[in-house]
Symmetry: C2
Subunit: 312 residues, 2 copies
């Protein structure tokens, strides 16, 4: 079961955080970019080679201290077929290092189409009666706008393949309230109603620690809503974006945890990937030593979270 | 401008319909599947070869009588890297035949990530200062759950590259009402509020026929809501799924049009792709003649819509 594997990895590393792999070219140290462009040309293949090399080096630098990585599909799709190949290879490489992989795709559609997305990322495609696993991540982020029949195929594959999903409840961006904060006739906001649904949908997928593989996304940038949402979804694992570069702190994100110190994982992308460019680490590590900066920042984030949670 | 190109093609073909390219393997005639599996093996490359061959034959059979095609990304993603390659080649082939291509991806995320999706499908990726167009569809479907800052990057590329988007307002599936029909504190449902936003967001993208390149998705399966939504979004082009296999009729979809006979395009996927398997056409065309069945069904759909719209 996904949620149990995730919790075991979190306990093993004593680290409830996730490294986001959003490899924009401008984040990648110039020696990696230059080598990739020299080898593969300055087009999509060169860009894809650069992001794969970058990702592998980040994974090498953190795989023993973090439980999971979260590649953001958009940054691979942006580099076309070659980018998708880099995504696939990133997923496989991270898994080979024992990391849990959360594919961040925010996929969604009506039932039959959601089934195809689920086959792509969690389950398998049936080809002439044979089941073929495709991208085979451990979990996928999904968007709830189409309602239950767009979510059900993912839940079925979670059960069948021991995978997980994180359903968007309250996103970390500025305009997230435009729809998500609207108050409904039931005196509850949309994000509260989605949270109740997530709770409901996840009941059958509860693991040995009492948590569900049907999780939620709640931005660290909205600590007050996080408090409310933790109360509604007592058993959903919460994926928390918005930490670091987006302005959310460990203290903000702490509202997503339960008193057992479990219940959430905090994602950081840019602050770890670009640690070598930061005020904090640029004077300590050179650009060529960017992996060391990644590791130092990941450890510093871990300490910060554990201090706030009182689990240090 | 996207919407003007679309309208010109609709007028040229006298056909406000779109052929959905959702190539599930079970939809593909056995002679095409067998050849692909023989040439490429019974794995993902074979599946991808089958769907590309199938798509090309469908495109060949309808490109002169329909204005646009709508490949559904999920059915390509399901076949991995090879599937995405088939998607890319389908888009390019359809464009080479003069068709408008609507990539159906329901993409969405916070601002910076939405920008990457937009670069992938509508705009271009910047690689070492050079702009590279990636999948380069004419339009993309997007999900509004993150609010305006998740939509803005797509709108910018629409303006810059003459592209379009269709924002999910009311989806065609059974459970679409679970969130979309919720009544808010303003006495309006979520789908009405999204419609007002679509209207607002699209104002700057109005073309020579008075319509906007910032369009909406409204399911043919909800004719009453369609009537209301057409009233709210007078100028948004509406993409109407749910016709045919999902149960929506031309009469249902007609509510999405304005009195000028414009304002909407109706999508049919399975009813055209699988026409050769249908009661209506199976006795007329053999499986080997499936292209003829596609064309016959596309023409029959065109006539049905035009009869209802009074534009026959």
């Amino acid at each position: 079961m996904f949620v149990d594997r995730l919790i075991r990895k979190i306990k093993e590393t004593n680290n409830p955080s996730v490294v986001g792999l959003d490899p924009r070219l401008e984040f990648i140290p110039s020696h990696i970019r230059e080598k990739a462009f020299k080898d593969e040309g300055e087009g999509l293949p060169g860009a894809a080679a650069a992001i794969l090399d970058f990702n592998k080096k980040i994974i090498d630098s953190v795989y023993d201290i973090v439980p999971a990585v979260k590649p953001q599909l958009a940054y691979y799709e942006m580099y076309g077929i070659e980018g998708i190949k880099a995504f696939y290879e990133t997923v496989q490489y991270a898994k080979s290092k024992g990391l849990i992989v959360i594919a961040d795709g925010k996929r969604n559609d009506i039932g039959s189409t959601a089934e195809a997305y689920s086959s792509a990322h969690l389950g398998s495609a049936a080809i002439n009666g044979k089941k073929v696993q495709v991208f085979d991540a451990d979990a996928l982020t999904v968007n709830p706008y189409p309602g239950y029949d767009g979510i059900k195929p993912f839940i079925s594959d979670c059960e069948l393949y021991g995978k997980g999903i994180f359903i968007l409840v309250k996103t970390s961006n500025k305009s997230s309230g435009q729809l998500q904060d609207l108050l409904t006739q039931y005196g509850k906001s949309i994000y509260e109603i989605v949270a109740e649904l997530v709770n409901d949908w996840g009941k059958a997928q509860t693991g040995e620690f009492g948590y569900s593989s049907i999780g939620a996304v709640v931005g660290a940038t909205y600590p007050n809503q996080a408090k409310i949402l933790r109360g509604i979804m007592k058993k959903a694992y919460i994926l928390v974006p918005g930490y670091g570069a987006q302005g959310g702190t460990a203290k903000d994100a702490a509202h997503c945890f339960n008193k057992d110190g479990l219940g959430a994982v905090i994602n950081a992308s840019r602050s770890i990937m670009c640690a070598y460019q930061s005020e904090k680490w640029a004077s300590v590590f050179s650009e060529e030593e960017f992996e060391k900066a990644c590791r130092a920042e990941a450890l510093s984030m871990k300490d910060e979270i554990n201090a706030v949670l009182g689990t240090a």
